[in-house]
Symmetry: C2
Subunit: 298 residues, 2 copies
DNA sequence: TTCAAAATTCGATATATTCGATATATCAAT
DNA sequence: ATTGATATATCGAATATATCGAATTTTGAA
């Protein structure tokens, strides 16, 4: 059961960098040293970690399976090396999975607060689509996920409320007001629905509403970013479904106007999730604390 | 953040064995090697681990504080070295803290089942007095504690029901039946109360009862073991307070007779406890599973 | 086939670990 | 204060291990 962190770090670096050579470069070893270290690690663990698929090194199943324990060891080592240091000095990494829209419009205060409290902790943000957040947390790709509320969660996931929002339809103030009745059923609208992710959560919620009402729009128009969506709507190319927090500014200054729907009353929750079995490191605790603070502030 | 399990194991062994020399003997090093390894570990961690108090090496506060992380690392390493092995092959240690009486009379099926399921896991049993069990679990001396139910627990302790028992007064069948009225108050009894631990939980419960009833016995008689208590009672040297499970056999074959008290109706719970923040290793999970099975079986 | 990229092998050498002997420190008994 | 027993520290030599660099192998792509 002899083992050292040096070899484990080399192992993790190979996975991170994608090759022995790059890991060697990053860690300041020669390639042969990396080969030697991995060979030694495999002997120590009595496991094959890599198999050659062509000239690519692929992690074996055993290699994947022991990852949580490798992380456990490196986490333990990290905590020891942080011992006695204040929050502002501790290092480490915390990985968040956040949908783009939430990241842009509501996470800025969190990110600033985090960087301020712990400038040496690397904050890695994976900007994923809403449907992938939970999976990322389950796979350990992210430590904390932030998302729209869902109905059910795997029981390995802990989820907590983070804040509320509404789903809105918005239009340009230059749009003919007569066309903006989205309450009366059975209508055909002569303009497009502009969206960013056609399968996004907000979009799907609104589609359900429109289907129920039998309100049909001209056609879908897909653009790259949520910013682009707003630009298109402002230029009166169509209307869009957006979460309330993303258009607060524009509604206030009149660049966009809200369209009344029966979804206006409905309140949605944003949540944060993390893995139940995960050990909550001080780094992670800080992130969770700041999320709760963010919630209290707004 | 370079670190190796070898040094950490040496570190833990010193704590376990109580001296550098004994750790060296156990691990097959010379004493100077142990000194060197600890010095090296202290340099790696940038922490003082021991301080000399006279000719004794005492763990520093930092040394105590990092213990959970040292354990985290060694647990991780242990899990990796157990990877792919079946339950019957995995090794490791699980430490139980159990009061003597419960150990002798009710834990035998558990111990046998455990040894059968996982013969390579070292089952270390600390036989402690009831009052020390919770503390042992809090201090990490034991992974799981078994005890009589108490009213309140620190919130770092998880406690679950394990089974029920009663507290009995027992006497020899040769005892004058006329003297065995322990229900009517205000009596003086011309025989001794024999006990093993005068401060034991059963004893204290019964004392409360006797005080309330104002029933006074001749004198206390303290003997070494619970077996000795039973022998003395069988030889009619006095009566004793015992938990029901410890005298089932003797009551059935008539070697002891129960004395009726108003405590007969009261049902006590045996419980098992473990530390809330502890990572539940497969070894520990097996032990917990077997305890639950034991409960179901009786 | 040939080239380039990536991993392995192997000998030389620097570095780290361990041992054994000895020195030092502490406590307790005299 | 002296002495003996016990415990840890120090140091040099022997041994073991890690790293590098050069040569070699493997493989996918041109």
């Amino acid at each position: 059961m002899r083992m050292n962190t040096k070899n484990l770090i080399t192992f993790k670096t190979i996975l991170e960098m994608g090759s022995f050579q790059k890991a060697a470069d990053k860690l300041g070893y020669t390639q042969s040293t990396v080969t030697f270290q991995i060979k030694q690690l495999e002997e120590e663990l009595e496991l094959e970690l890599f198999e050659k698929i062509g000239r690519r090194m692929e992690l074996t199943q055993a290699g994947k399976d022991i990852m949580p324990y490798v992380d456990m060891i490196l986490q333990g080592a990290e905590q020891i090396s942080n011992y006695g240091k204040s929050l502002s000095e501790i290092s480490g990494t915390i990985k968040l999975a956040i949908p783009d829209s939430i990241l842009i419009y509501t996470m800025q205060p969190f990110i600033q607060a985090f960087r301020h409290e712990a400038p040496n902790i690397q904050l890695v943000i994976h900007s994923l689509q809403a449907g992938q957040i939970i999976q990322a947390v389950m796979d350990g790709i992210a430590d904390i996920g932030i998302n729209c509320e869902k109905d059910n969660y795997p029981d390995t996931i802990i989820h907590n409320n983070l804040g509320t929002y509404r789903i809105l339809l918005v239009a340009s103030p230059f749009m003919d007001r007569g066309l903006l009745d989205f309450v009366t059923p059975h209508q055909r609208k002569p303009f497009s629905l502009i969206c960013n992710e056609p399968d996004g959560y907000y979009q799907l919620e609104m589609n359900k509403y429109l289907d129920k009402k039998d309100i049909v729009l001209n056609q879908y128009m897909k653009v790259q970013s949520i910013e682009a969506v707003k630009r298109c709507v402002m230029n009166n190319l169509g209307i869009a479904v957006v979460p309330s927090y993303s258009v607060e500014e524009e509604l206030k200054n009149g660049a966009l106007i809200p369209i009344k729907t029966e979804l206006d009353e409905k309140i949605y929750n944003a949540i944060y999730v993390y893995h139940k079995n995960k050990w909550i490191s001080p780094q992670m605790k800080l992130a969770l604390d700041l999320l709760i603070k963010l919630k209290a502030d707004c």
